[in-house]
């Protein structure tokens, strides 16, 4: 089935009760809930990332589960308003708390929990901090949330079948994190990029700035119709959606290299690098200096 870009008019499923997330059908059988551009709070339940699900003939795959058990349950409630099919797969695009902490909501249907092969190790090292800071940010709203434990690990690629609907999973070398996994729906040409794609909200570098630029090159070769970014609109045109993020990362890498060549210290570099990008991103001041620190401590080892 071929869908012409722009023909599909997404239908928004009305939230019948307030415990179900609002989701938008961005392509036939693909629903996405849009995260807000903020830090986690008791009110938003940690719902700051885009999360969604894909419905096949036999089963459903959830792609990222949100920032708390409660957000995961609200996502499940949204699914149940649309389809009675079982959730057989929970796919985690990486290990950041706003994407994974809703996993527990789906435990009852015993899904296969899927992640990048590096995820268990990297999450284990960070989980204590993640739990502590999410508890302090969300309080009661975070109660019951547990650390996910994915058993189906993807080293390079993997495929799952939802019933006449095949999803292709691709694991990336270190980029946004060292455990980035994308999901491609063959039926509609839709790619879930996870946080390999930030739109509107400033990208955060928790892996490798150079690796991320390489990942964008690789992503551009994917023949997709549209993308679901980890943060930003629920759906965006492909591959133009990558442009802003690629420009930001390129500016950070280029200006950091220049600062290093000029003998600027880490402190000097964090004050100057990337400032031209300030008007282009939400939460710029919360993340830019940290991104420059990450880029500087990576690039200073270049010859």
């Amino acid at each position: 089935m071929i869908l012409l870009a722009g023909i599909w008019l997404g239908a928004t499923a009305a939230a019948a009760d307030d415990s179900a997330l609002t989701v938008t059908e961005i392509a036939p059988g693909i629903f996405v809930h849009q995260g807000v551009h903020a830090e986690a709070t008791p009110e938003n339940l940690g719902g700051i990332a885009n999360i969604g699900f894909i419905i096949g003939d036999d089963s459903i795959a959830v792609i990222d589960t949100g920032g708390s058990l409660r957000e995961g349950k609200a996502l499940l409630a949204a699914i149940r308003q649309i389809s009675p099919l079982p959730v057989r797969y929970v796919i985690n695009t990486h290990f950041h708390p706003d994407h994974i902490f809703g996993n527990g909501a789906f435990a009852a249907s015993h899904p296969e929990v899927i992640a990048h092969a590096n995820l268990p190790r990297s999450l284990a090292a960070r989980a204590g901090d993640y739990l502590a800071s999410a508890r302090s940010a969300m309080g009661q709203s975070f109660l019951g949330t547990e650390i996910p434990n994915p058993k189906r690990l993807v080293g390079k690629t993997d495929d799952i079948d939802l019933g006449h609907r095949r999803l292709h999973l691709t694991a990336f070398p270190p980029a946004h994190t060292d455990a980035d996994l994308t999901v491609y729906d063959e039926k509609t040409g839709t790619i879930f990029a996870g946080d390999l794609l930030f739109m509107e909200r400033i990208p955060s570098i928790d892996g490798s700035v150079l690796g991320w630029l390489k990942a964008i090159d690789k992503l551009r070769r994917v023949k997709a119709q549209r993308v679901v970014p980890g943060h930003g609109p629920v759906s965006a045109p492909w591959p133009a959606a990558l442009d802003d993020e690629e420009r930001y990362l390129f500016v950070i890498a280029t200006e950091t290299r220049k600062a290093l060549a000029n003998g600027e210290s880490l402190r000097q570099a964090t004050a100057t690098v990337g400032q031209s990008e300030r008007p282009n991103w939400q939460l710029f001041d919360a993340y830019n200096e940290r991104n420059v620190t990450a880029a500087y401590t990576e690039l200073e080892w270049e010859e």
Binding site: P120, R121, S122, L123, A124, A125, R126, A127, G128, D129, L131, S133, I147, N149, P174, T177, D178, D206, G207, S208, G211, G263, S265, L266, R267, T270, E289, R290, V292, T293, A294, T297, E300, W301
Partner: protein, 277 residues
């Protein structure tokens, strides 16, 4: 004070024990009780015993961002103004991050040939804290300066973003020297050592075991075989320990660095330092 190679938590516990002993041994005044959340008085006693420490702020100060972007990589400079300290030469600098689980981040032992005792490094900061630098002069007197830094979580944060890379490059070193130094002029050298400097505070949530501490504990820097500086390091130094220091070679020679980690692994590298033009 040389901190042992036991895990960060162990150090924290024994340090708490020490505080308890101190509290029992030395009854505190009412004024001290009011400031009892300030660990410095007890730290000072634990590290320097009853030695007097004078205010050094007329010739030494600490520079750090007031609010750190990344608590695991906080740039810090201990700066001296030699013009304001006639006749004084720095022998040792002890860097103390008051509220870190392992408060003594590093001890720098400087050879007399160092033209400028100013040191730059990068540290982990576990919570909002004062940072003290205490300089011991060649006449045996102690002076100090301090700065307050807002940052949190740096000790337990897994700074290692790409663990596979960290293992592949363990112990590699890089030395940066400004290319345009002129003869007899002091220049700033930057030494970088690839090492995850595991703090021992990162818990594996599945096994509930702490990832063992593994960190650079000694760095010896020589020029043409003569000691320039030695550093006692700890888990409060960031991943990939970074040290900036001054160098004023009279002639072309070789800088040599030997680093040892808490597992006993030894890393060595030497660089030719060209004659200045």
């Amino acid at each position: 004070m040389r901190l042992s190679r036991t895990a960060c938590i162990g150090q924290a516990l024994s340090f708490l024990l020490l505080l308890v002993i101190l509290a029992v041994a030395a009854p505190r005044t009412a004024a001290a009780d009011e400031a009892s959340d300030d660990p410095w008085p007890d730290l000072q006693t634990a590290i320097f015993a009853d030695r007097q420490i004078a205010d050094g702020s007329s010739f030494m100060h600490l520079e750090a961002p007031a609010r750190a972007a990344d608590a695991a990589v906080v740039p810090l400079e201990i700066k001296f103004d030699p013009a304001q300290m006639p006749g004084l030469t720095v022998k040792t600098i002890t860097l103390v991050i008051d509220k870190n689980p392992a408060p003594v981040a590093a001890v720098f032992h400087l050879a007399a040939v160092m033209p400028d005792p100013s040191i730059g490094t990068r540290i982990r900061v576990n919570e909002y804290t004062n940072i003290h630098a205490v300089a011991e002069m060649t006449d045996g007197k102690l002076y100090m300066a301090k700065v307050f830094v807002k940052a949190a979580g740096g000790c337990s944060a897994p700074a290692v973003k790409t663990p596979a890379e960290a293992v592949a490059h363990l112990g590699e070193m890089k030395l940066k020297l400004p290319p345009d130094a002129t003869a007899g002029q002091a220049r700033r050298a930057q030494l970088m050592i690839r090492h995850p400097n595991f703090s021992g505070m990162q818990m594996d949530q599945v096994t509930r075991y702490y990832i063992p501490a593994k960190f650079i504990e000694a760095i010896d820097i020589t020029y043409d075989g003569k000691p320039l500086m030695s550093v006692e390091g700890n888990i409060s130094l960031s991943e990939n320990p970074f040290i900036e220091f001054s160098l004023k070679p009279d002639q072309a020679g070789e800088m040599s660095v030997t680093a040892r980690d808490s597992d006993g692994a030894v890393f060595k590298k030497a660089w030719p330092v060209p004659a200045s033009s």
